[in-house]
């Protein structure tokens, strides 16, 4: 069993900043306030920075190390079905799909929110509705993400939430 550094400082700061900012905007901050808008811009800034880091960052932060793949995702589901515990050092294939989903959803939430503030779309119902549907989708995805992290932590005997804090994954095969 070995310990591998998988998440660099940028990835970890990005992850937990996004958690705080999204939670603040979705649950706490007043919807029509300026603060809500500024937090929204900050989230978009974070996502754009993360996408940039996906091309120039460290090994497991790069998109090249977790390309979206249907066949790899099916393989991971087969592992789950057959009770196999093959480890993935970086993102798992199913986890990768969740990341692309969350990155895209956050960007679209930011875009629809921005459109609501422009003269052209101010007061239109569909932008507001789209914004709310996207937020519901994001919340649903986050619940699924947390459930999957707990499930995979137990299945693979690796504390994944702690890895996102310390940067190290434990219990990987030699």
């Amino acid at each position: 069993m070995k310990r591998v550094r998988v998440w660099d400082l940028f990835v970890r700061l990005f992850h937990w900043s996004l958690v705080l900012l999204f939670a603040a905007n979705a649950l706490i901050v007043e919807e029509d306030s300026r603060t809500h808008e500024w937090i929204g811009y900050a989230v978009v800034g974070l996502i754009v920075a993360r996408i940039g880091w996906g091309f120039v960052g460290t090994r497991y932060a790069r998109f090249a190390s977790f390309r979206p793949s249907v066949s790899a995702a099916m393989e991971q589901m087969t592992d789950i079905a057959a009770g196999r515990t093959r480890a993935h050092v970086g993102h798992t294939p199913l986890g990768a799909w969740m990341i692309y989903n969350l990155l895209a959803t956050m960007l679209l939430i930011g875009l629809s929110g921005y459109l609501m503030t422009t003269d052209m779309f101010w007061g239109t119902a569909w932008t507001e509705e789209l914004h709310e549907i996207l937020v519901s989708w994001a919340e649903l995805s986050i619940v699924a993400h947390i459930a999957a992290v707990i499930f995979e932590s137990r299945r693979l005997h690796t504390n994944l939430p702690r890895a996102m804090v310390t940067g190290y994954k434990d219990n990987l095969p030699d």
Partner: protein, 171 residues
């Protein structure tokens, strides 16, 4: 070999999409039931509406559970039957599986037992499954205990015997 007598073991993407849509619907209905109940309590007028809605939601949950189980079974089968298999292979496979059913093996034990039948060694199975060899050995003990056999040869004999008798095991 591309004879028409081949059975595909592909996972139906349609079923995955169906599960996904049903999960969304379940969440939608469940929140509706909860908000209706919170708003009105249980007045006589809305009671039947609420009950019907709750039953619909629960049956959706049951359907999702069944579909997930079906998909997991399909994936387990696919784990040992890559691409497509002939009818004869499928029949042999089914008989072996019916033994595993009768012995009530867990998903991990079934996976290991199938590798065992195929003739893989313990280190090979450990490598393919990402387990330690000790884990495989303890699973093997459980397989022998549940099947009432003592060795790989013993286990194989039982399966081959039932193949020649042309009937699946019923314990």
């Amino acid at each position: 070999m591309t004879s028409p007598l081949q059975v595909s073991s592909r996972t139906p993407a349609g079923l995955l999409i169906l599960i996904f849509v049903q999960v969304i619907c379940t969440i939608f209905f469940a929140t509706d039931v909860v908000t209706d109940f919170a708003e009105s309590g249980l007045p006589s007028s809305g009671r039947y509406h609420l009950i019907v809605e709750a039953v619909a939601t629960l049956s959706l949950c049951a359907a999702i559970a069944l579909e997930v189980r079906y998909i997991l079974n399909l994936l387990r089968r696919k784990a040992h039957l890559e691409k497509s298999a002939s009818i004869a292979t499928m029949a042999v496979f089914d008989i072996i599986e019916s033994h595993f059913d009768a012995w009530q093996l867990t998903p991990s034990e079934r996976d290991i037992a199938m590798f065992l039948v195929k003739g893989f060694t313990i280190p090979e199975i450990a490598a393919m499954r990402g387990n330690a060899e000790g884990t495989i050995k303890s699973h093997l003990n459980a397989i022998y205990r549940k099947s009432g056999t003592h060795s790989r040869g013993d286990l194989l004999s039982g399966i081959i015997d039932s193949l020649m008798a042309e009937r699946p095991a019923r314990t």
